[in-house]
C-alpha cells in the first residue's frame, strides 16, 4: 500500500519561454495543484545537464520533471530536440541504476497551457506517491555503512592474520 502521508519531492526544470510562463499562467489563473514541485528556471530545456538530474535524485528528489516548448516551437529553434535526445539516454541510464523510469518525466508545455502544468504536476505527484520514496541519500548512507563494515572486517582479518604471523 502506498503511504498516503508521503510527500514526494519533485525538482522541475522549466524553460523560461514556454513552461515557466505556463506555470506563471497557472498562477494567474489560480489553478490549484500539489505543492510538491520546486521549479528551477533555465532559459531553455536544452540547458538541463544530465548531471542536474542525477544530482537532484542523489540529493533526495523523488522525481524530476523537465518542461520545455513543444517540438518545433523552441524559442532557440532546436534546444528541446537536444533535451529529448538527452532525456532518452538518461532514462536508459536510470533504468540501469535501478531507478524507475517514471521518476523522470519530460513534458512539452507551451506558454498557453497553464492547465497542463496543473495536470502534470498532480499526476506526477500521485504517481510518485504510489512509487514511494526513492530515498537515495539514505541508501547512500547505508551503502557507506556497508562499505565501512566490509572495510573494517577486512582490516580486522588482516590484523588477525598479521598477529598470527607474528
Amino acid at each position: 500500500m502506498p503511504d498516503a502521508a508521503f510527500q514526494p519531492r519533485i525538482v522541475a526544470f522549466f524553460c523560461n519561454w514556454c513552461t515557466y510562463t505556463a506555470a506563471d499562467l497557472a498562477g494567474v489563473s489560480r489553478f490549484k495543484y500539489a505543492p510538491n514541485v520546486r521549479v528551477v528556471r533555465l532559459m531553455c530545456s536544452g540547458r538541463v545537464d544530465p548531471q542536474f538530474i542525477l544530482s537532484a535524485f542523489s540529493q533526495g528528489a523523488d522525481g524530476v520533471l523537465i518542461g520545455g516548448c513543444h517540438i518545433g516551437d523552441c524559442h532557440y529553434s532546436e534546444g528541446n530536440l537536444k533535451t529529448l535526445r538527452r532525456f532518452q539516454m538518461l532514462r536508459r541510464l536510470l533504468r540501469g541504476l535501478g531507478i524507475d523510469e517514471r521518476r523522470l518525466r519530460l513534458e512539452w508545455i507551451s506558454a498557453a497551457e497553464g492547465d497542463k502544468v496543473r495536470v502534470i504536476v498532480n499526476e506526477m505527484t500521485e504517481q510518485l506517491r504510489a512509487l514511494g520514496p526513492l530515498g537515495l541519500p539514505g541508501r547512500f548512507e547505508e551503502w557507506d555503512r556497508e562499505a565501512g563494515r566490509t572495510e573494517a572486517e577486512a582490516a580486522g582479518s588482516e590484523a588477525r592474520e598479521e598477529a598470527a604471523h607474528a
Binding site: 506563471d24 494567474v28 545537464d49 532557440y76 496543473r118
Partner: protein, 665 residues
C-alpha cells in the same frame, strides 16, 4: 563595491506580502525569520509591497547601511518584476546581477491551498536562492544598436495605422500584404458601428496615404517567408508573388481589363466574397491601393497555356506595364522591429449544417450581407433575395461559431454590434421586419449600448435563444415559400417557429488558418485558441515573448476597429521607443569557453543553432561569439569537459539551487 572572491558574502532577503496575494497563503514573517538564521544572511525582512517605492527604497537603504553585496527578493514572477528589482539593486550601488528573485506568488501562493505546505515551499525556494546568489558575479549588459526601419506584416486597418504612425514620425516602414491590395476586412464594410459612418470614407484616405507616403515601402501580393536575427537586427526575406504587371509602370487606367479576351467577367470575385464576378485581369476593388491591376495566374489564358492573343498587352500599348515574364522574387530587408497585424478569418458557416448555409440560397453570412447593402457591392447596394424579390422579413442569428463548445468557445466581440448595424441598414434599405436571435447582447464599447437602445426603439425584434435549426419545411400556410427558424425563446419560455425571407448568420472570428506557421516564423506564442499571445495581458498587451516583435489587431484576439487602431498605435509607439533610444541592452546570459579546460573535441559546434561557436584552429579550442550567442545554454549542457559556462546560469548556481530546494526538509 562588487564582491570578488574572498569577500565576505552579505545577503539581504526581502519577502513581499503582495497585499494578501502572497501573505494570504504564505506565512511571510515566518519565512523571513527562517531566512534570517541562514548563513551569510545579514538582513531579512517582510514587507507589504516590495515593488512599491518604499519597498525598493528598503533595499537601497539596506545595501548602504549594512554593506550588503547580495540581494534576494521573494515575490512574484521574475518575468514581471526582475527588472524592477535589478534597478533598485543598481540604484543602491550594487551590480544588478548580484540579485536573485524567488517566485512565491505565481508558483506558490496562487496555486496552493495548504498554507503550511505553501510556507514550507516558500522557505525551500528562498533557501535555494540564498544559496544560489552566493555564486553570482558582477556582469555587464551588452548594448546592441537598433536598426531604425520597421516591418509591418498585414495591411488591414491595424497594419495601415501602425505604418502611418511610424512613417509620420519619420521612420522607414516596409508594409507587406498578402493580397493584391491593402485594406483588409474593413475595406469590405459599408458602414461602421455605432456611428454608422461610411467605412470607405474613413479608410480610403488612410489607404491612399500609405500608397503615397515617402517613408512607406508597400509590398502587396507579397509574403514574409523567413525571419532571422534578433531585436534591433532582423533580416527578413519577403516573397513577392508575380502579378504579371509592373507596379512602377501601371497607372491603374484599367484599359487592359476592358480589353481582356474574356468579354464578360465570369470568375468569382474575392472582394465581394464570391458574389460578384471579375476577369482574369482585374483590380481588387475601385479604391485598391496600390492602384495596380493584377493577373490571376489560375485564370489567365496566357499564364496558363501561353496561347492568348494578349489583347491586354495591346491595350496597355506603350506603357508596357504587363509583363508575362515576371517570376516570383525573394527580397531581403533589414529591420529593427516587426509589427504583426495579420488579422483573422471568418468562421465557415457550413460547419453548422443545421443553419442551412450553402443549402438555402437566402441564408447568407454577415459579410455577404455587408457586400449586398453597400453601393460598391455586386447589387449596387440593392438588398434583394436570390430570386430578385425584396425581402419582407429578415432574421439574424448571432454567435454562429462563437460562444459554442462545439465550435469556438470565445466571444467574437463584434458580431452583436455588427448585426445591429446591419439590422438598421436592412430596415433602411428595405423596411423589412428584422428579428435578432441572440444569447446575450454584448454592447460594451463607447456609444454601443446607446446603439442597442436605438435598435430597440427602431422596432428591431430581439429574441433570446440559440437557434436550433433553419428549415424550408412549412407546416402552416404563412410558412409556405419561406425559411423557418426554430428556436427556444428563453425569455418567453416557449419554442417558436418564425418564418422569414432571409437569414443572416453573424459568423465569428477565427485565427488565420496559417497562424501556426506565422507564429513559428516570428518566434511568437499562440494561446490554445490560436490567437497570438501577448507578453502580458495587461502590462504588455502588444509585446510578444520575442523582443522587437509586436502584435496588434485581431491576430491577437477578436476586437473592433477602434481597439485595433489603438493597439496598432501602441505597437508603433513600442517600436519607436526602441528605435529612438537607438540601442537595446541584452541580458548578459551568454555562454563562454574556459580555454584551459577545453579539449577541442568540437562537440559543441554543431549544437549551436546560431553558429555562434567556431573552432580556433591555432589554439585548438572552441570559441563563442557573444554577439551571436542568445544564451540558451544548450552547448553548456553538452560540453563533456565542462569548459563551456553560462553567465547567470553557471553550473554551481543551478547545482546550489537544486541542493537548496532539496535540503530544506
Amino acid at each position: 563595491m562588487n564582491a570578488g572572491a574572498g569577500t565576505e558574502i552579505r545577503t539581504g532577503f526581502y519577502i513581499c506580502h503582495c497585499g494578501q496575494n502572497i501573505a494570504g497563503v504564505v506565512d511571510c514573517p515566518a519565512v523571513a525569520e527562517y531566512v534570517a538564521r541562514l548563513p551569510s544572511v545579514v538582513v531579512s525582512r517582510d514587507y507589504k509591497y516590495m515593488c512599491s517605492d518604499p519597498g525598493q527604497e528598503l533595499i537601497k537603504q539596506d545595501i548602504r547601511e549594512h554593506n550588503l553585496n547580495r540581494i534576494v527578493v521573494a515575490s512574484c514572477s521574475p518575468l514581471l518584476h526582475e527588472h524592477t528589482f535589478r534597478h533598485a539593486v543598481e540604484a543602491g550601488g550594487l551590480n544588478p546581477f548580484l540579485f536573485q528573485m524567488v517566485n512565491i506568488r505565481e508558483h506558490d501562493s496562487w496555486v496552493h491551498t495548504d498554507h503550511a505546505a505553501a510556507t514550507e515551499k516558500a522557505k525551500a525556494l528562498a533557501y535555494a536562492a540564498v544559496r544560489r546568489v552566493r555564486f553570482h558575479t558582477a556582469l555587464e549588459t551588452k548594448r546592441v544598436s537598433v536598426h531604425p526601419d520597421v516591418l509591418v506584416v498585414g495591411g488591414g486597418i491595424a497594419g495601415i495605422h501602425a505604418s502611418l504612425t511610424l512613417a509620420n514620425a519619420g521612420k522607414k516602414v516596409f508594409l507587406v500584404e498578402r493580397e493584391p491590395s491593402i485594406g483588409g476586412h474593413m475595406a469590405k464594410f459599408d458602414k461602421t458601428f455605432p456611428t454608422l459612418d461610411c467605412a470607405a470614407c474613413i479608410l480610403t484616405p488612410k489607404m491612399s496615404a500609405v500608397g503615397a507616403h515617402e517613408n512607406i515601402t508597400l509590398w502587396s501580393y507579397s509574403e514574409v517567408v523567413k525571419v532571422e536575427g534578433y531585436v534591433g537586427n532582423y533580416q527578413v526575406t519577403v516573397k513577392r508573388k508575380p502579378r504579371y504587371v509592373n507596379e512602377e509602370l501601371c497607372i491603374g487606367c484599367q484599359e487592359c481589363i476592358r480589353a481582356c479576351v474574356y468579354k464578360e467577367a465570369k470568375f468569382p470575385d474575392e472582394f465581394n466574397v464570391g458574389m460578384g464576378k471579375r476577369k482574369p485581369i482585374y483590380i481588387p476593388f475601385p479604391q485598391a491601393v496600390p492602384q495596380v491591376v493584377v493577373i490571376d495566374p489560375a485564370r489567365c489564358l496566357q499564364v496558363k497555356s501561353g496561347k492568348c492573343k494578349q489583347t491586354c498587352v495591346e491595350a496597355c500599348a506603350d506603357r508596357r506595364a504587363i509583363d508575362f515574364t515576371q517570376r516570383e522574387e525573394l527580397v531581403q530587408i533589414k529591420v529593427g522591429n516587426i509589427i504583426v497585424t495579420t488579422g483573422f478569418k471568418l468562421f465557415d458557416a457550413k460547419r453548422i449544417p443545421q443553419y442551412g448555409y450553402g443549402v438555402y440560397p437566402n441564408v447568407v453570412t454577415s459579410i455577404e450581407l455587408e457586400r449586398l447593402v453597400t453601393s460598391s457591392g455586386p447589387t449596387g447596394g440593392e438588398l434583394l433575395l436570390r430570386d430578385g424579390r425584396t425581402p419582407q422579413s429578415v432574421a439574424f442569428i448571432l454567435c454562429v461559431g462563437s460562444r459554442d463548445y462545439r465550435t469556438n468557445r470565445w466571444c467574437s466581440r463584434t458580431c452583436c454590434m455588427h448585426s445591429m448595424k446591419l439590422a438598421q441598414l436592412v430596415r433602411e434599405h428595405t423596411g423589412a421586419d428584422v428579428t435578432v436571435f441572440y444569447l446575450d447582447i454584448r454592447a460594451p464599447g463607447k456609444g454601443c449600448e446607446e446603439f442597442y437602445d436605438k435598435s430597440l426603439k427602431d422596432g428591431i425584434q430581439f429574441v433570446r435563444g440559440r437557434v436550433a435549426e433553419v428549415t424550408d419545411w412549412a407546416v402552416t400556410p404563412e410558412e409556405e415559400g419561406k425559411l423557418v427558424i426554430r428556436a427556444e425563446d428563453t425569455l418567453a419560455g416557449l419554442v417558436r417557429r418564425i418564418p422569414v425571407d432571409m437569414i443572416v448568420l453573424a459568423v465569428g472570428m477565427e485565427p488565420q488558418s496559417d497562424a501556426q506557421d506565422l507564429r513559428r516564423l516570428f518566434n511568437m506564442s499562440c494561446g490554445t485558441e490560436g490567437w497570438f499571445l501577448e507578453k502580458h495581458p495587461k502590462l504588455a498587451p502588444v509585446s510578444t515573448f520575442t523582443d522587437g516583435v509586436f502584435i496588434a489587431g485581431c491576430c491577437q484576439g477578436p476586437k473592433d476597429i477602434p481597439d485595433s487602431i489603438a493597439q496598432a498605435g501602441a505597437a508603433a509607439a513600442e517600436a519607436m521607443a526602441l528605435i529612438d533610444r537607438g540601442y537595446i541592452e541584452q541580458e548578459p546570459n551568454t555562454a563562454y569557453v574556459v580555454e584551459e579546460d577545453c579539449s577541442g573535441c568540437k562537440s559543441c559546434i554543431p549544437i549551436c543553432p546560431y553558429t555562434a561557436i567556431t573552432f580556433d584552429e591555432a589554439k585548438a579550442k572552441a570559441c563563442i561569439n557573444p554577439a551571436l550567442c542568445k544564451g540558451c545554454g544548450t552547448c553548456v549542457a553538452a560540453c563533456p569537459s565542462g569548459s563551456i559556462r553560462q553567465h547567470l546560469f553557471e553550473d554551481e548556481e543551478i547545482m546550489s539551487e537544486i541542493e537548496g530546494v532539496l535540503s530544506h526538509a
